[in-house]
């Protein structure tokens, strides 16, 4: 019981630090690339958060009030449960389920449901459009991440994330299954609707599902996206970059470094690549990314055979 509470508080701390880290790295990339308006990477996140905190909450004529209130909270909760699965070192795994990959696979479709709920509940046209658009595209790339995660389960002979790390003692999965990490990262950008895959909340729909939300609800929604991206980066580092494995330094330091590298990469992609056209990306997801995920699985399978 005490161990459970300590682990839960640890995950909450990582969650809070993760949100701040995403804001810092994102603004640092924006500054480095010469994009305007990012401000000081270390202080500007506090100003933005404070302005959202004191901003009055918006409402529409006839919203689904309870769903609107709950959707950002549920999204944050799902992201936190994903983050809980990350093994930080051999002895420090907040939630070390033997079926961790199955739980992760359940969180992704549930996130899709919650994103739809967020767009639906405002009862406004643009947010509804963002929700429908997100679902149609989310359907197309959800499978990809599950196939690449099954790929890392094969050599581990287990669905447990800590076992997946231990199976990489000889060689990291990023070399054994080179297609895995890029595909997984792409889905991560999709589910946190970030950068090139921002189909739910993008500017062409005046903010999409969050076009009607303001104030503290919007703050929670943005924080949830950031946590989801951190969770994806950490699981990516676990599944493909050998997790806590590494020489000299203690395990959790390696894990933090690897997570930050993956996160920085994802945020750089978010700053560099323009948003894909949704109609093209839909076809690409089904006829290119999904077959590539099959190839990754067969590759992983052939490689794992003794």
């Amino acid at each position: 019981m005490t161990a459970s509470l300590t682990n839960a508080l640890l995950v909450m701390a990582i969650l809070a630090i993760g949100v701040y880290l995403v804001a810092i790295i994102n603004r640092a990339w924006a500054n480095a690339l010469g994009h305007s308006g990012a401000g000081n990477p270390f202080t500007a996140p506090f100003y933005s958060a404070a302005s959202l905190w004191v901003a009055p909450a918006n409402t529409t004529e006839a919203p689904d009030a309870m769903a609107w209130h709950l959707a950002p909270v549920l999204y944050l909760t799902l992201a936190a449960m994903g983050l809980a699965l990350v093994p930080w070192s051999q002895n420090l795994v907040p939630v070390d389920l033997t079926t961790g990959i199955v739980l992760w696979g359940a969180l992704e479709p549930l996130a899709t449901v919650v994103i739809f709920l967020h767009g639906w509940s405002a009862n406004a046209h643009l947010s509804m459009l963002g929700a429908y658009r997100y679902v149609s595209l989310g359907l197309s790339y959800l499978l990809v991440s599950m196939f690449v995660l099954i790929g890392v389960a094969l050599p581990a002979e287990s669905l447990q994330f800590s076992a997946v790390v231990e199976s990489q003692a000889g060689l990291w999965n990023v070399i054994r299954q080179p297609l895995g990490l890029p595909l997984f990262l792409l889905v991560g950008l999709g589910i946190s609707f970030w950068g090139p895959l921002n189909f739910a909340d993008s500017n062409d729909l005046a903010g999409g599902t969050s076009s009607e939300s303001s104030g503290r609800a919007r703050l929670v929604w943005q924080a949830g996206r950031a946590v989801m991206l951190v969770a994806f980066s950490a699981i990516g580092a676990t599944a493909f970059l050998g997790g806590w494995l590494g020489p000299v330094l203690p395990g959790f330091v390696w894990m933090i470094l690897k997570t930050m590298v993956v996160l920085a990469m994802a945020l750089l992609l978010g700053q560099l690549i323009p948003r894909f056209s949704p109609d093209r990306f839909l076809t690409i997801a089904w006829v290119l990314l999904l077959p590539l995920a099959f190839v990754d699985l067969v590759w992983a399978g052939l490689e794992a055979l003794p």
Binding site: L103, A124, S127, L154, L159, D279, T283, P306
Partner: protein, 121 residues
């Protein structure tokens, strides 16, 4: 052991939910807490225009064929979880079996592609 992990997961879920609820504040639609904005401000944002119909209108879900295909693959995923655990022990046989299964499902993708299910309509 597994129960302890699930308990931790439950605590994390509840804790985040509670913190999230507190962070997102009281719902403004309850008038006893705060005055709601005036009606013109509460009209759904349409870039200056005013809506002629409800946003919760009947909508043709044109991604419907894709949802069917997704369900086919998600069901397959249920077989894949146990398959992944015994894969190395079963060896080549397991690879061929799953390969056949995937090949059959892939025919569905090719058919859907031909029928234009993956086009933005």
């Amino acid at each position: 052991m597994e129960l302890t992990e699930l308990l931790t997961l439950l605590i994390i879920g509840l804790l985040t939910f509670a913190v999230g609820l507190w962070l997102s504040g009281r719902p403004i639609t309850k008038p006893q807490y705060r005055a709601a904005p005036p009606w013109p401000q509460r009209a759904p944002f349409l870039g200056g225009g005013s809506p002629e119909n409800h946003a919760w209108n009947r909508f043709h879900a044109r991604y419907y064929p894709m949802t069917l295909l997704l369900i086919a693959f998600e069901m397959e995923m249920m077989f894949m979880y146990p398959w992944a655990v015994v894969y190395v022990a079963e060896g080549m046989k397991a690879l061929v079996e799953m390969g056949m299964f995937l090949a059959i499902l892939s025919v569905g993708i090719i058919y859907g592609w031909r029928e234009g299910a993956f086009k933005w309509q």
